[in-house]
């Protein structure tokens, strides 16, 4: 079985063979992979390099933490990849950025207006939580398309606040 792994914008082709060998992008590696029973840890010896990972799964996504660095990993096998190809659906971002509330809180200030052209890093919303006021910034430049809240609103985790195009 062949697997295509997506991490961010990179893809990896991975094929587990017999005899503890795994091909990564065509290159064979000796792999000894174990779950540490009773803990969330996995241990992988890859050509005798020792790696330890913590893994959580959420749907088709794995969250894999190695030495404290988190990788969000999506795995597709041949079948699912073919279906996706047929649908010609590109993954990853469209031209829209949706700012969602990263935590429940109270909207304190909205220093932008609909239609405004904003630079990367522009503050979009001041959200109060944990007694501190937190500034939510835009990760990229764009135009403010929609503002879905107003000052004083209590918002929930994940609620859409602002849409940038």
């Amino acid at each position: 079985m062949n697997y295509t792994v997506l991490i961010g914008e990179r893809t990896y082709e991975i094929r587990p063979d017999a005899n503890q060998t795994v091909e990564i992008n065509g290159e064979p590696h000796r792999v000894d992979f174990r779950n540490i029973e009773g803990s969330g840890f996995y241990s992988a010896l890859i050509d005798n390099r020792s790696w330890q990972a913590l893994v959580e799964r959420d749907g088709d996504e794995y969250r894999i933490s190695i030495d404290g660095e988190l990788y969000v990993v999506t795995v597709q096998d041949e079948r699912t990849r073919k279906i996706q190809k047929a649908l010609n659906k590109t993954p990853a971002a469209s031209g829209e950025f949706i700012l969602k509330a990263p935590m429940p809180g109270l909207v304190r200030q909205i220093p932008i207006q609909v239609g405004q052209t904003i630079p990367q890093g522009q503050g979009l919303i001041i959200l109060e939580a944990m007694k501190m006021e937190n500034e939510l910034r835009s990760p990229r430049a764009g135009v403010v398309q929609e503002i879905r809240v107003k000052p004083g609103d209590a918002v929930e985790l994940g609620q859409t606040l602002v849409i940038i195009h």
């Binding site: 792994v5 063979d17 005899n19 990564i24 913590l54 959580e56 794995y62 935590m103 910034r137």
Partner: protein, 494 residues
Amino acid sequence: MFKKILVANRGEIAVRILRACRELGVETVAVYSDADRNALHVRYADEAYNIGSAPARESYLRIDRIVEIALRAKVDAIHPGYGFLAENPQFARAVMAADIAFIGPPARAIQAMGNKVQARKLAQRVGAPVVPGVYETLSDEAIVQAANEIGYPVMIKAAAGGGGKGMRRVDEPGEMASALARAHSEAASAFGDDAVYIEKALTGVRHVEIQILADTKGNVIHLGERECSLQRRHQKLVEEAPSVAVDEKMRMAMGSAAVKIAQAAEYVNAGTLEFLVDKDSNFYFLEMNTRLQVEHPVTELVTGVDIVKEQIRIASGRALSLRQENVVLRGWAIECRITAEDPYNNFLPSVGKITNLQEPTGPGVRLETGLYEGMEVSLFYDPLIAKLCVWGETRAAAIVRMRRALSEFQIMGVSTAIPFHQKMMESTNFMGGHFDTRFVEEKFEIRHGGSPEKERVAALIGALLTHERRQTALNIPPTHGANGSRWRNRGWKS
């Protein structure tokens, strides 16, 4: 000595104080909100009482309920920890009125030093240098005028409390109105008092503080300094003892100024005098914290003094267990504050359930924590979830040890400040000791930068886990919740 102590706090500091009590053979009483029923401090104490719902104002800030529980459980003393009611003179008074010892300074000292404006006046009286500025609570108009006189940048600060709440740096007149509004509103919600004052914002300065201990017999000593310049939005992130900016002569001068201020305030118990230190090694008194400080462990590590036990001994009427000449610094200590915040995303608070936890240990590592697997990190309380402290023979040894300890600390379920600290410990400025209070915000950047090699490993692991699921057709539930990630996979083989 006391027979039974109530700890009016939660999280790592409650556990820290309970540990000291257990070592002293003193019985303990914990209080907890509905959100903290399963917390470590509840399980660690000999007795535990619910004091209300999750919001602090309904539980940990309820003076009436805490005193009622203290009377019911027949405790001799209450330790307030830091935060919550620690610097509330009404609480200290209510405790004393119930004929229970308060493990902290007398109410009048909390009140006198708690008002930052009064504290500065007192420091000036004993000849300690203070930051230039206007030490009065003024109207907004008067503050704007004063700012023009002392010159920008200026700091707006809450008169009634510290911890960075209600504090704003203002670089130019145009920012003044909004800064004042936000400072007033934060001060009001944090301290119930919206009064603010203004001082000159010194640039290129370090934040260095002196720990003091004072007993009821009039003995006051200092335990040297802590370097606390690494801050973000006036929240300390990394602390050290000693400070690279302080030599023995300066330590004696700052220590002596600190002791004089404490004596003038007729201060008793543990306290901290905060100073700014400029490039020419001039120091300026800033404010006093009339409580146990978050970062007290670094002082403990270099002096060998157990500050919490000293607090308890002092409150029980005993004399200090050591004199100034017995205070000897050895080696170097660093503390990293592990907060549930996402350093890659503007330090936004992160909430969730701790699904996996591996704590660092071994030589020279001290962990102060209230963490446990299954714990819910909520927005109700401070995001500080652990303090990782290390000791080394030298500053360099402490830094490399901190790197090692950070690499061992694994927390799944919430984002934490660990990657920030890892990058800080690798920063050449930090290693060289070149930083001031603006360093983190102005010169330090942290970006996602996983190594290509680790990413390949992550890809491999993802593929093998999927392969295993396909092969064994095991029904593995998705990992929402604590037990989820404890899969039963036996290890993949060919």
